[in-house]
Structure formats: structure tokens, C-alpha cells
């Protein structure tokens, strides 16, 4: 595991350049990083387990980190481990020059928590929970949401805390579906998702991970 740039054979490097949106330097950099991660594995393993991948600072604080690993993993065991090529795929999709199409495709798969090809309300709920922070923050959110609702109807404060919080969330989910579910089948599918995403001004600029 020297981690030097010359580790990758030249032909492979050029093929990787052909197949990803990365430049030569970026691929070499990625390879270096990957070798470092690989060195941390227990045995001589071609893949790097998800735990190790998630130690990367770029992914550490991402609420979707596990989804990202699962989406890009080609492992048969579905454990989210990444080979170098999967790793390159990941970086390519998140790179600066990747197209909106490929970015939105992977974003869809990341948000599709149960891998069933559509974003249903369960997926959206999970998504919103991820976005508002997973553990303690979520509770705080609920509290805040309660207050928010409480302002509207101050008499029912207290007992209806949880209900109104979930009500707010549900309202949010309904709004999402209202907007993006064009064929009104109760779920958001890929084409609808891409339609929505393609209009967004800052999706491409924020859907990026840089090593």
C-alpha cells in the first residue's frame, strides 16, 4: 500500500478517465485515499467496508452516508462495502462536471430508502427525518413543531404535542407529493423526481462531494 500515484496501470487510468467525470489527478487522489482506507481493513480485502468508508470526513456528517454507500456498492452481500471502482463511481457521480441526469438518478436512488424504485410516503418521511437531524435534534424539532402548531391553536397545547407534530410532518409530505407527484399515484417516481430536480437552481451545486 504505497499509496503513490503510479499504483494504477496506465491503461486502466485512461479507461477510468474515459468512464468517469474525474480527471487524472482526481483519480490518483481517490486511489491514494482508497488505499489508505484499505490498509485499515483487517485482511487483504478488495473491498472496503462501510464503516471504514464512513470515516472519510467528506461523508462523516452526511445524513445520507449509509444510503450513499448502499447505492454505490456492488457487493453481493448488500453490506454497503465499496470496491475501488464503486468508489470511483461515487466520486464521479458527485463530481463537479457530472451531468444533472446522472446526479439526479443517483439522488433518487439515495432517497429511495427501501429500493423499490419509487419514493413513497415512507421514504419521504425518512428523508425528512434525515434532513432534520436523526436523534436528539429530531425530538427538538418535534417540540418546535408543536410550538409552531400551538401558536395557531393555543388551547390544545400539551396533549396534542405528538399528534400535531406528526400532523405538520404529514402536511409537509402531502405538500411534496402535491407538487411533484405529477401522475397522482401517491408516489414520486424517477421521471417525476428528475422533472422536479431539473428545475432546482442549486441541486447541481450542492450535490457534490469533493475529496
Amino acid at each position: 500500500m504505497g499509496g503513490t500515484a503510479s499504483n494504477l496501470p496506465k491503461e486502466l487510468l485512461s479507461e477510468y478517465q474515459e468512464l468517469t467525470f474525474l480527471t487524472k489527478q482526481e483519480i490518483n487522489e481517490a486511489h491514494k485515499k482508497f488505499c489508505q482506507l484499505q490498509a485499515r481493513e483487517n485482511g487483504p480485502n478488495e473491498r472496503v467496508s462501510m464503516q471504514n468508508i464512513l470515516t472519510l470526513p467528506e461523508l462523516k456528517s452526511n445524513p445520507f452516508r449509509e444510503r450513499v454507500c448502499h447505492v454505490f456498492s456492488t457487493s453481493d452481500r448488500k453490506d454497503g462495502s465499496l470496491s475501488f471502482e464503486d468508489f470511483l463511481d461515487l466520486l464521479s457521480a458527485f463530481s463537479d462536471s457530472a451531468t444533472l441526469e446522472i446526479k439526479s438518478h443517483y439522488a433518487f436512488r439515495i432517497f429511495d430508502f427501501d429500493d423499490d424504485g419509487t419514493l413513497d410516503s415512507e421514504d419521504l418521511k425518512k428523508l425528512v427525518n434525515c434532513l432534520t437531524g436523526e436523534t436528539d435534534d429530531a425530538r427538538l424539532t418535534l417540540e418546535e413543531m408543536r410550538q409552531l402548531i400551538g401558536n395557531v391553536s393555543p388551547s390544545h397545547r400539551g396533549q396534542t404535542a405528538i399528534r400535531s407534530a406528526s400532523l405538520t410532518q404529514t402536511r409537509f409530505l402531502l405538500q411534496i407529493l402535491e407538487e411533484s407527484d405529477i401522475d397522482k399515484d401517491g408516489t414520486v417516481n424517477l421521471s417525476e423526481f428528475q422533472h422536479v430536480i431539473s428545475r432546482s437552481p442549486d441541486f447541481v451545486s450542492s450535490f457534490k462531494i469533493v475529496l
Binding site: E85, E101, G117, L127, F172, S191, D202
Partner: protein
């Protein structure tokens, strides 16, 4: 002949084998395969199937070996065949034979085309070839197969959805067999030459084969290659795992390498090969150049580091800074290369002319640092300022037109800036997609609000909080049920706040005016008598105002109780107004100063004639032929040269602005951070989270500062050519300084704002500033006559007269005539009118497009709803039928197969409907349309437009849990 037919049959098995591997247990495929077999002459489908199965069982993994065996056998045969072919060319009978032979081969090719077509469809490559081959198929089978084929492709898609991991393993065999097929059918001799290192010999052989090919086959081969090339070009945009992409890439490359050289004949062949080689080289060069370009972008790593720590909004400031740096680089290149360097190299050297010499009374202090720091002394009489330039028409051996160049560079600087800013704005507007921005408000909040760049836990926490707030806000805004307790109080407070802000603005304006006037008084008396403060009063006051007024505004804005986003906009607007007001007061004061200087100039002019007269009178009274008395240029009296004064003021302003920025940075960020960090241990409250805390990076304030700085550059660059250089230096330093400051002593913002949303806002501000800063510059250039004894335009009544002069002297007479005609109001006015008309036309067309867009969207929605209803009905019907069927034959053992049949029919119907749907939905967005054909599990058609019906069908639930179970069983039963 017999051998050949054997070859075809074995080839078929091979194909069958490959497809079997591919589609495995799929039922529909068998159907399709039958369809293919129908037209293959005299072969029992059962037999073939069995053979194929046997072969598959036997071959297992060693298909490669068998293939190579077969290949060698085939090549032997084909060699024989070729010989025969040549030998019997003369006899008519054999010719007929060869004809049938050709025919058969053609048919084979057609078959192969079908298979290929499926592959290509899978790969989502749209090409014309499918059309042509479809036509051929229709000729052969009367379009009977087409239907089945379409069904089949749908099912392939579906299959892909089911077994993604298998998919990538399938590809190699498929591709290989494909290649092999090509090899065998098209160029048999070539396969023999295993040692094909020599391209020439291979080509010769290939040509030998190619000559025996029909032009159609050649055409097909070419098309196949084109397709491969296209595939290779678009491969990186495919959402496939790398393994699959790699395999496809290698296969296509192999294929291309094999046949690239073989196409074309004689001269054309060589040309083709040459073209191919050049293409490869060009691609490689392009890639390297791309790498080089990215390596050349400065500060990329720095910005990325900041991006990962602070999210994209802070990084957007640095990207903006870098963009600005690029623009200033160009401006600097223009002024430096076309104005400063020619004057320094080819113009008259220092000390030859009064304007190029430090006057006698200033000589003593001309090298003092304090004077130089103020850009007086030697700095004032150098290429850095307008006054130094000579009005000589052409300088040096190049006959460089200096005044003209000076004028054109001034105009070009502004024109270039306009162009760049507007172009960037237009590009940003394009990215925003135009029009209906608010309809996906909630979805965007859910789908795009996370900034994937954030790598810092603290920033992530802030982001979580801000997303939560924004979601809540969105809900509240949507409900519109927010009731203010006391609307009157809020209104009153807001009015009060605005009143206070106006007072601030007016006060700062007056202060600047007052200070500038006072400084003029000082200047009249002579600056030497005053201290440092009096000399730098104007700049210091302006910088201090720029520093403290925003804080004041911030305090005032807490009165207003606005929503944070709106509050930010107000804040930005106020700071903008403050800066603008200050700048304009400064300019108005400068105008006054210019008037004073011009009055002074008149006095100097009259004095000058007296002085000259005295000079001549004193020595040589009336001998005009005698050489004029040489007076040292430093002693010659001179005018005040208001242009240099203006330039000097701007330079000083920039310098002091830069200094205040840096000092604020050091004190406000660095020392605060140091204090907080080290005093925290011995303080009575928590400094880090309590009152002083660490500072946040103020994106909007910094951007505004940058914009105004640039405005000053644009304003002053005409009178001080050194300004772009100075600004370049400043930007360079602040890039490093601010990067360092952000990384070491700032904390992530609590309110994380989106970067790109405000991009165009900043650009619009930049445009406004650009316009406002060019106004005074243009005014001075057009309406004030230049000084009589300094600058490139001295002696002219107006600066733009230089154009007239050039037209008259440097261009032929007819050009001047044409120009004068063209500038005639009779021509200019219609031209302007035309421009206005074009503008109007473009605007109205864009409006129409917007409306059409909306209509299409509505239409789409309606259609989708209709489709949904239809699907639901069909699905319900199918479900009820299914129920009946299962009820009726509940006890029979073959329930499963029946069920499977029904399911198949249903899915067939469905897939067709989906196809229609997919075609319709293609109008939505190009990317959507493409994805309908995507083989990927999630993007495939059946998932994208799967109606809820499929789920409702599962509800009657004979087999709860997995609705796909019966289908699979039925497949195995049938087989």
C-alpha cells in the same frame, strides 16, 4: 455448402446459448425466440432448444474454448469456401450457387441484426440503424415479429430490473458472442490471423474480404462502428456500475480496433485509417488538455477545503472572488500591454517634458515614503497616471498610436466588463430554468436542501437546524395563518427603522461631502502644513463609515422583526444604498474639485503666456530663427492636471479601503478569535459560546465590498491605468488572507444560505454598479475638456476627438465619408429603432414560450391523470378476472401456470400502456424521455410509470407477501 449450413446452425446454437444465459428463466423470451426461429429455415425449435440447453450444460464456463474451436473450424471451412468461390466464378451454375450463398448470408446478417438491435436498445443508444433493420425485418416477416420484439424489449428491461447483479456478468458473454458473430459472418479469413500485429497485412486481408461484401453489409458495419463510438462517448453518463462500463468499453474498443482499418478502399482506406488515428490522438489531447485546464484553475484546492468545511455559500464568495480576479487579470492585461508598457518603452523618457518631470518645488520631497505612499512625487509623474502620457500621435519605431490606444483601452475595459457580467447573468438565468420557481417549493426543500459538500460536524448541525427552520417557515408561509399580535406597533417600528436608516444615510452623505470640501481647502493652502489625519481624512471617513454603518443597520433591523431572509435583503439593500451614496457624494465632491482645478488651469494658462513672453523678451527679443532657450522641464510652470488628481483620489481610496479591510479582518476576526480562545480559561463566563464568541464569515457583506471595490476600479481606471494592477494585487492578497482567516478563526454560519440562489442577485448588483460607475467616467470624458498640458489628449477640445483625428489622418478619405454618413442621425435613428424592435420581438417570443410551456405542462398533467384512470380500470378488471380464475381452479394442480398466463397477459397489456405513457411523458423533459428506455432497475419503464394498480392487484392477495412468486413458478412449470 453443407459445411456452411452446419456452421450457421452451430452459430445459432451459440446465439441461443448466449441469449439463454442472458435471459435465463424468462418466459417471454422463449416466446420471442420462437418468433425468431419461425423464419429460420427447416429447423425444429424443440431440437434447437434441447441442443442449446445441452450445450449450455456442457459448456458452462468454458464457452471461450468451444468458441475458439468452432472458430478455427469455421475458418477452415470458410477458407475452402472462399477457394471454391474463386474457382467457380466462371461457371454460371456456381455463380447461382454463390448467389444463394449470398442470400443466405444476408439473411443471417438480418437475424444477427435483430439480436444486435436488442443489445443496442438495452444500451439505450438510439440510432437510425434500428429503423433500417426493422424495415428489413418487415420485408422478411411481414411485420409479424415486430410486435413481439417490442414486447420482448420491454421484458428485457423488466428483467434487468429484477436481476441487476447478473446483468453485468451477462454482458461479456453477450458481447463476445456478438463480436464473434461479426467475425465469422463478415470477415472469415481475418479470424485466422491470430498474430495480427501488422496492421497493413491485416488490412489487406480485410480488404480482400470487404471486396466480397455487399455495400449494404459494409454500410451496416460502418453504422455499427458509429454506434459503438457513440456509446463510448456517452458511456460516462450512464448510471451503471463501473464493472459493466469497463467491460462495454473494452469490448467496443476491441471491436473498433478490429474493423476500423478494414473499412474503405484504396486511397479512401488510408485516409480513413489516418482519420481514425488522428481522432484518437485528438481525443487523448483533449483529455490531457482538460486535465491541464483543471490543474490550471488557481486556488481550487483551497476553495474545496473551505467548501467542505463551511458549505457552498461561503465557498461561493471565494469563487466570486476568483472570478473577479480573472476579470481584473484581463483588464490589467489590456491596460498594461496596450498603454503602460508602450509608453514606458517607446514614449519619451522621464525628464524630457514638463509633464514627465517632477516640478522643482516638489523635488525635495519627491522620494519621501509618505509622499510616495500617497502616490505623489515620482509616483505621480509616472506611467501610473493619466498626466504622464504624451499627446504625440505615434510613438516609437512601431508608430504606435498612443492617444488612440489609450482611448480605446478605456472604452474596451468598460465594454468587456459589460459583456462578461451580462453573459454570466444570462448563463445563471439559464441554469435557473426560468419561470415557475415556486411550484416545487416543498419538494426542493426536501430533495435538494442538503449540501453534500458539508464535511464538518458543526456545519452539519447548523445545516440541520436551518433546514428545520426553513421547512417550518415554508409550512407557516403556506398556511398564511400567522397572526401578528400588534400590527400597528410592528408597522410603526418598521417606519421608524427606515427613518433611522435614512437619517444614517443622509448623515454619512453629508459627512463625506463636508470632508471632501474641507480637504480641498487644505489642498489649496498646501498639504504640508497638516498632519496625517487631515491628508487622509476623506478616505478614512469613507472606510470608517463603510465599517460601522452596516453594524448600525443591523441593530436597527432588529426593531423591524422581519423574517431573516427578508431582513437580509433589507440589510443588503441598505448597505448597497450606503455605499452607493458615499461613492456618489465622493464623485460630486470630486466634480467640484475638477471645476476648481479648471479655474486654476485658466489662470495658469494666462500666466504661462506671460511667462513665455518674459522668457523671450528677456533674452532674444525678435530673432525667431535662433534656437529657443532651453529651460529645464522642471522649471516650466504647469497646469493642475485634474485628470491625474482624479486618478490619484481613486488610487488612495482603493488603498485605504484595502487597508481597512485587512485591518478589520485582523482585529475583528483574528484577535477576537485569539482572545476568545485563550482568555476562555480564566473568564467568568463561557466566551466561546457566550457573548463575543467567534465571528462568522459574512458572505453578503464581503461580496458587497468586493463589488464596490470593483466599481471604483471601473470608475477610476481611465485616469489611473495602474488601478487594475493594484486591484489584482489586492485580490490576490485577500484571497490568501481571507482563506486563512476563514479556516483559522471563523465558525460556520448559523443561518446557512444557499449559494446559487443569490448568485444572480450579486451579479445584478455588479451590473448596477458597473452602470453607475461608468456614468461619471463617461460624463467626464465627454463633457469636460482635457487639461492643456498633460495627458494623451492635451491640446484637443474633447477626449473623443482622437477618433475623429484618426479617421481623418490614418484612414483613406472614403472611409471617413462612409463613417460620417453612417453617423448621420438619419441612419442612426432607424438603427436604434430596429434595435428596440428586435428587443421587443425577442421579449414577446420569450413570453410566448413561457406560456406554451405552461400549457404543455397542464396538458401533460391531464393526460397523466387520464392514463392513470385507464390503468386503474384495466388493472381492476384484470384483478377480478384473476380472482375468478383462481377461485374456479383452486383445487387443480396447474393453478399456477394459469395464473402465470394471466399475469403475462396483464403485464403485456401494461407494458404496452406504459410505452404509450412513456412516449407522452417524453415531452416533459429530455432527461425523462431518455430514462424510459433505461435498463436500470429503478429507471426502467415499468417502475417509472407503474400505476398503483399493480399494488391493488396484490391486495386480493392469494399469495400475500410476494406478488411475483406465482409468476416465477409458472415460468419454471412451463419450461
Amino acid at each position: 455448402m453443407v459445411i456452411f449450413s452446419r456452421f450457421t446452425s452451430s452459430w445459432k446454437h451459440l446465439r441461443y446459448f448466449s441469449i439463454e444465459v442472458d435471459e435465463g428463466n424468462d418466459n417471454e423470451f422463449n416466446l420471442y425466440y420462437v418468433g425468431v426461429e419461425d423464419h429460420s429455415e427447416g429447423e425444429k425449435e424443440q431440437q434447437v432448444k434441447q441442443e442449446g440447453k445441452r450445450r449450455r450444460e456442457r459448456n458452462g464456463k468454458i464457452s471461450g474454448r468451444t468458441a475458439s474451436e468452432k472458430r478455427s473450424a469455421v475458418t477452415k471451412n470458410s477458407d475452402k469456401r472462399e477457394k471454391k468461390h474463386d474457382k467457380h466464378q466462371k461457371t454460371a451454375r456456381e455463380r447461382r450457387g454463390s448467389k444463394t450463398h449470398e442470400k443466405r448470408r444476408k439473411r443471417n446478417n438480418a437475424d444477427e441484426e435483430v439480436v444486435e438491435e436488442e443489445c443496442s436498445k438495452e444500451k439505450n443508444v438510439k440510432n437510425e440503424r434500428t429503423k433500417t433493420s426493422k424495415l428489413e425485418d418487415e420485408k422478411e416477416q411481414g411485420g409479424k415479429k415486430n410486435k413481439k420484439k417490442s414486447v420482448k424489449t420491454e421484458d428485457v428491461d423488466r428483467n434487468h430490473g429484477k436481476m441487476k447483479p447478473r446483468d453485468c456478468n451477462d454482458v461479456p458473454t453477450k458481447e463476445k458472442t456478438k463480436n464473434r458473430k461479426k467475425l465469422e459472418t463478415i470477415s472469415e479469413p481475418e479470424s485466422k490471423s491470430d498474430s495480427e500485429s501488422d496492421l497493413e497485412s491485416r488490412d489487406d486481408k480485410a480488404v480482400g474480404v470487404l471486396s466480397s461484401l455487399t455495400p449494404e453489409e459494409l454500410e451496416m458495419l460502418k453504422e455499427a462502428m458509429e454506434e459503438k463510438k457513440k456509446l463510448m462517448a456517452t458511456l460516462r453518463g450512464k448510471p451503471w456500475p463501473m464493472k459493466k462500463k469497463l467491460i462495454i468499453l473494452r469490448e467496443s474498443q476491441e471491436f473498433l480496433e478490429k474493423y476500423e482499418g478494414a473499412l474503405g478502399k484504396g486511397k479512401g482506406r488510408k485516409l480513413y485509417a489516418y482519420k481514425v488515428v488522428m481522432m484518437k490522438k485528438w481525443m487523448k489531447f483533449q483529455r490531457d488538455f482538460e486535465n491541464f485546464k483543471t490543474a490550471c484553475i488557481p486556488w481550487e484546492m483551497k476553495i474545496k477545503e473551505i467548501e467542505s468545511h463551511f458549505g457552498s455559500s461561503v465557498a461561493s464568495y471565494f469563487i466570486f472572488l476568483r472570478w473577479m480576479y480573472g476579470i481584473n487579470m484581463i483588464l490589467f492585461g489590456l491596460t498594461f500591454g496596450l498603454v503602460m508598457v508602450p509608453e514606458a518603452l517607446m514614449g519619451k523618457p522621464y525628464g524630457t517634458l514638463p509633464r514627465k518631470t517632477v516640478p522643482r518645488e516638489e523635488e525635495a520631497s519627491a522620494m519621501n515614503f509618505a509622499v510616495l505612499w500617497d502616490f505623489g512625487g515620482y509616483a505621480k509623474y509616472s506611467v501610473l497616471f493619466y498626466g504622464y502620457y504624451n499627446n504625440q500621435r505615434a510613438i516609437g519605431w512601431l508608430k504606435f498610436r498612443m492617444p488612440l490606444s489609450y482611448f480605446l483601452v478605456g472604452v474596451g475595459t468598460v465594454a468587456y466588463s459589460y459583456m462578461v457580467v451580462i453573459r454570466t447573468m444570462a448563463r445563471n438565468a439559464n441554469e435557473e430554468g426560468g419561470g415557475d420557481d415556486t411550484i416545487f417549493n416543498f419538494s426542493w426543500k426536501a430533495f435538494t436542501s442538503w449540501d453534500y459538500l458539508i464535511g464538518n460536524p458543526e456545519t452539519a448541525d447548523n445545516k440541520f437546524a436551518s433546514i428545520t427552520t426553513s421547512i417550518k417557515e415554508a409550512i407557516v408561509e403556506d398556511q398564511e395563518s400567522r397572526k401578528d399580535d400588534n400590527i400597528h406597533l410592528t408597522r410603526f417600528l418598521r417606519v421608524l427603522a427606515n427613518f433611522l436608516v435614512l437619517c444614517c444615510l443622509a448623515g454619512s452623505g453629508y459627512l463625506i461631502y463636508f470632508v471632501v470640501r474641507r480637504s480641498q481647502k487644505f489642498a489649496l493652502v498646501g498639504l504640508e502644513k497638516y498632519g496625517w489625519w487631515e491628508r487622509n481624512e476623506v478616505n478614512m471617513v469613507m472606510s470608517l463609515l463603510g465599517m460601522f454603518c452596516p453594524m448600525l443597520f443591523d441593530v436597527i433591523s432588529t426593531l423591524e422583526n422581519y423574517h431573516p431572509r427578508i431582513a437580509l435583503q433589507w440589510q443588503l439593500g441598505r448597505i448597497f444604498a450606503l455605499f452607493l451614496g458615499n461613492l456618489y457624494t465622493f464623485i460630486i465632491a470630486l466634480m467640484d474639485a475638477i471645476q476648481l482645478k479648471r479655474a486654476e488651469e485658466d489662470i495658469v494658462k494666462t500666466n504661462m503666456t506671460i511667462w513665455q513672453a518674459n522668457l523671450y523678451n528677456g533674452t532674444v527679443p525678435d530673432n525667431s530663427t535662433a534656437p529657443p532657450i532651453t529651460v529645464h522641464p522642471a522649471d516650466v510652470p504647469r497646469g493642475p492636471c485634474w485628470e491625474t488628481m482624479v486618478g490619484q483620489e481613486f488610487v488612495r481610496l482603493i488603498i485605504s479601503d484595502t487597508m481597512t479591510t485587512y485591518i478589520t479582518l485582523l482585529i475583528g476576526d483574528f484577535f477576537r478569535a485569539v482572545l476568545v480562545r485563550f482568555l476562555n480559561n480564566c473568564w467568568c463566563w463561557d466566551l466561546e459560546y457566550g457573548f463575543p464568541s467567534y465571528s462568522e464569515f459574512d458572505v453578503s457583506g464581503n461580496v458587497l465590498g468586493l463589488i464596490f471595490n470593483q466599481g471604483m476600479i471601473w470608475m477610476g481606471a481611465f485616469y489611473a491605468p495602474c488601478l487594475p494592477a493594484l486591484n489584482l494585487f489586492r485580490l490576490h492578497v485577500s484571497m490568501y488572507l481571507q482563506c486563512w482567516a476563514v479556516m483559522c478563526c471563523n465558525v460556520p454560519q448559523e443561518r446557512v444560505f444557499k449559494a446559487s440562489g443569490s448568485n444572480n442577485f450579486y451579479m445584478a448588483m455588479l451590473l448596477v454598479i458597473l452602470f453607475l460607475s461608468t456614468l461619471p467616467a463617461i460624463y467626464t470624458i465627454v463633457s469636460i475638456p482635457p487639461s492643456f498640458d498633460c495627458g494623451p489628449f492635451s491640446g484637443k477640445s474633447r477626449m473623443f476627438d482622437v477618433i475623429q483625428e484618426t479617421l481623418e489622418t490614418d484612414f483613406p478619405a472614403w472611409f471617413g465619408m462612409v463613417f460620417s454618413y453612417a453617423s448621420n442621425p438619419g441612419l442612426v435613428l432607424p438603427f436604434l429603432l430596429l434595435l428596440v424592435l428586435a428587443l421587443y420581438y425577442l421579449q414577446s417570443t420569450s413570453k410566448t414560450y413561457k406560456r406554451v410551456n405552461m400549457e404543455l405542462k397542464k396538458k401533460l398533467q391531464v393526460q397523466n391523470e387520464e392514463n392513470k384512470k385507464k390503468n386503474k380500470l384495466a388493472a381492476l378488471k384484470a384483478a377480478s378476472e384473476l380472482e375468478q380464475a383462481t377461485n374456479a381452479v383452486g383445487k387443480h394442480s396447474n393453478t399456477d401456470s394459469d395464473l402465470g398466463m394471466n399475469e403475462n397477459d396483464n403485464s403485456l397489456n401494461e407494458t404496452q400502456q406504459h410505452r404509450q405513457k412513456g412516449q407522452k411523458s417524453r415531452y416533459v423533459h429530455p432527461s425523462q424521455g431518455q430514462h424510459n428506455k433505461d435498463p436500470h432497475p429503478i429507471s426502467s419503464t415499468h417502475t417509472t410509470t407503474r400505476p398503483p394498480a399493480s399494488r391493488s392487484r396484490a391486495v386480493p392477495g392469494h399469495l400475500p407477501g410476494n406478488p411475483q412468486q406465482p409468476q416465477r413458478n409458472s415460468h419454471s412449470n412451463r419450461r
